[in-house]
Symmetry: D2
Subunit: 303 residues, 4 copies
């Protein structure tokens, strides 16, 4: 579809939309491997240069995508095998892992909007230790080494009157964590990735991403500490769906001028701007995948 | 778009999709009036014959649609003026109103899925009297006449393993109400009707309607008591959005064979079947409109 | 304390309050064993005769009490070992276990009152199969034998205007399960049993038990199918606390006439009637123990 | 009961426990008036000196108590007359009221524990303006003057690993409000004050107050901005109940040595330390009174 811009929070999809060329794009390296037993495909996109960042529309950094189709299905232990993969990938991106550190986990999003409640629900199941260790020492857990884990659910601007970034910045200044892990629900371009994909990146949260009212930046630049972002696409933008439907139709209608049609489309659907599309069983799905994410973090942070 | 079928739970939209002809359709009467002060447009579609029902794709009965654009906006008393309109229209459809009766209000839908939580949230704010009157008599309220109001939130099949209709039927048999009022979130065809329209009908709930896993019938035929349904469209079907986008585009692309394109579309998007589209502020909107509905019922049922 | 009557929903405590004599009470048999590995003490009180029932203040039937101190503590897999004990005891009381059957699980209580939300929270985590088996057959689960599990959260009378018993009776008539399992939060006499004890009985729910507005009977007599009740004490009645404090004090104050004091107390505290006492971390505790219960049921009902 | 110390967060009760003498205590002034129409009794306790503060066990400052028995009862507009009284009293304590200012409202407590959810539920219903005014100016509300209202629900330490005071301090540093309003559920000594009393004070939140895990200080000293605290007693400490029962009994048992008994009691009930007592309909009550509080703040802050 050429220069037609559809929204995605996934680096994997950004790369796909660039097409074949991305594989050879200077400054972009791609590694892929498949974990047979867990049925998880891991794709690591490393954007090394500013030029590459510009071409991809994503900042310089590492983007790990785990495609885990089983994640959306019910499972007795909430797919612990996927949590373990997540823990491993997370530890590779986490600066200073292996040393004791203070980690603040931030659950972005709106608990009251099911598709946007991944972050809040994930922080509900974290193993929080900071207050115990500060009061009773590591002895409380019979451990020699112990990360200090804290968690924050900052809420959404419509309810707080504050930008999420203001709240997080204030809490970071006051409690001085060594690193932030931020969990957020994402928008994907493709329906088949919904709730089946986890993206982990060391670039933090970029402005304009996420499900609800678009987020502000939560990055090392803005906060002064490294920020790892973990996201799962839970919605597809309405405009994307329309564009995809178009594309599919037009592929077979060679006589129609696709570019002309679509560029017209783009300016024609302002009413879709604040709409998103999600699945009818999103409540059960979010409950499950949020648990998979929180367990992944719990496994990564226990020492 | 001719015979192209898009899903809507609103009789008003069903009529529109038939077009001009509906106005003259035998067996269909339409009344409209506008309440200036409240900015509410009321359209009453009366389907009188089986033939007309077939043409409209809706059963014989009365369908009142209140278009109230203000409903979606914040308001100190939750748009009491709209609640009062609703109460008036509801009383006209309610058999035996004016006499004391036992009314069971059923809140359909899934409390955990924001766009589908209208019914459960609305029953939270009802003024429930049945248990008090049965235990202490009407004296408890210093009233001579008093409706017995009860409420049920049956939940959804994925969580109960039972069809909503089974649960409601059992409770109706056991508690023998004179009439049912059923509240449900609906699917609309048009985005501009979302959360701005209330439909009240004396035909109950038809199979396949509603937001989540499609409902079973809750009608006088199936339950043995009159069923009034109150619904507000809170979602648009994903397939509808695509169809609408198509239509808009193709209007201007005369050279494209619209029918050919769209009929192809129709069979091409199975992945949209379990998707719906809703607004990003749906939590705040549902909180407000559910209150408007419950107050409408409270006003109608106090004597 | 002699004939001083304090409220408890636990047969174990009823027996203790009768004292030593209960062991020798005709018509009451007691079995005890201790599961070392799981640190669970199981006491089985079998009330065999009407006379014994009268003496104990509990109907004829079997009361299994599992004392599991670990249950209140955090645990990675929510104390699966306790869930397994529960499953085993449950299967012994469940009539027809081993055969395929249709089981309706009822979560009593008020989801909005933390200490009373055990039942509603427990049904959230059940593995519900009835609708799937009815639509797709057992093949859907690749099983030869399969119980049909359904679940109901009837809510509380203040919100429904109906007695829980009316709702359950209606749903039982309509869906004809072979057996009911009812989950409820209980009142204990002793603080040290709070959230550490599971009681399982084949006598169903007796009038006046439970945390909130006292329950109606849910028994084989009232519903026509066997009823197994699973309960965990989450509150202590305020009056009980006062009585216990009294007792403790007076033990050492021989010169005070205990009976006189206490019988006076009893009539003196009407303001405590609608009060209950619970722990400050009741939210975390209920979240955990409800999961232990639901997993116990899931294990028992998978074939 | 002499020097016997029971816990209360209400200055009114602290004064009562000192007894008659408080009226004449140097450095303490008391004003009382009764609002006939609203049935609200207002008591203003002004502690002017350090000595008086020591005697009262409360810091120097103004404590307004509104006793409003109707507050606990259902009411169509959530007792707007009480909200209006609250607004008036709040404005008298609010520094700089009349000028435009930036006000951060903090809802303390644990949303998941019903009796401790007053703060979180109250902030849900606030009229939040800060983000709108900052983005669109006061023109967005057609006002010449407009307070900037923001809100925060900091959560509880068991879930965040951070002290509430750390979170609030960070957010205050970052967003620089002119004044804080903090809403909290309190512990009362007397059951008859539960949910019927509002306390407003300009001394902020003192360490050790509140329902759940005892709060840290949120005061002008600790935060650098004035802090108005609004509280409603929703629980009674278990130990208090026991002590009250004792007192009542012993009044009539002259021959018992009350002091001896009670001082013994005090050391004897460690198991009550983490227990509280509340009413069985606490969910409905908190829903109502939180709305009364939020409306009081909304009225006070609109200009």
């Amino acid at each position: 579809m050429g220069n037609f811009q559809v929204r995605t929070d996934l680096a994997l999809e950004a790369r796909e939309s660039i097409g074949e060329a991305a594989g050879e794009l200077r400054g972009v390296r791609v590694e892929e491997y498949y974990k047979d037993e867990e049925d998880v495909r891991v794709t690591k996109v490393m954007i090394d240069t500013r030029n590459a960042a510009k071409a991809m529309g994503k900042p310089v950094g590492i983007y790990v995508t785990m495609e885990a189709p089983a994640m959306v299905e019910p499972d007795e232990d909430y797919h612990r095998e996927i949590s373990e993969c997540l823990a491993k990938e997370l530890l590779e991106l986490l600066p200073g892992s292996g040393d004791e550190q203070s980690v603040l986990v931030v659950g972005l999003g709106n608990r009251e909007v099911t598709a946007d409640s991944l972050g809040p629900q994930a922080v509900d199941n974290l193993f929080i230790t900071r207050h115990i260790v500060r009061e009773y020492g590591k002895a409380a857990y019979n451990c020699e080494k112990m990360n200090l884990v804290s968690a924050l659910e900052p809420g959404v601007m419509a309810k707080t009157g504050m930008e999420t970034a203001e709240i997080v910045k204030g809490v970071v200044s006051e409690t001085a964590p060594d690193v932030l892990i931020v969990i957020d629900a994402l928008a994907a371009r493709s329906i088949r990735r919904l709730n089946r994909t986890i993206q982990i990146t060391n670039t933090g949260i970029q402005p304009g991403s996420g499900v609800g009212n678009h987020r502000n930046a939560l990055t090392k630049e803005s906060l002064g500490v490294p920020v790892i972002a973990i996201g799962i696409p839970t919605v597809v933008d309405a405009a994307t769906i329309v564009a995809d439907a178009m594309e599919k139709l037009l592929e077979e209608e060679k006589e129609v001028d696709a570019v002309k049609l679509v560029s017209k489309q783009q300016i024609s659907f302002p009413e879709l701007n604040n709409m998103y599309m999600t699945g009818k069983d999103i409540d059960a799905v979010i409950k499950r995948v949020s648990y998979t994410v929180s367990e992944g973090i719990n496994i990564a942070l226990e020492m």
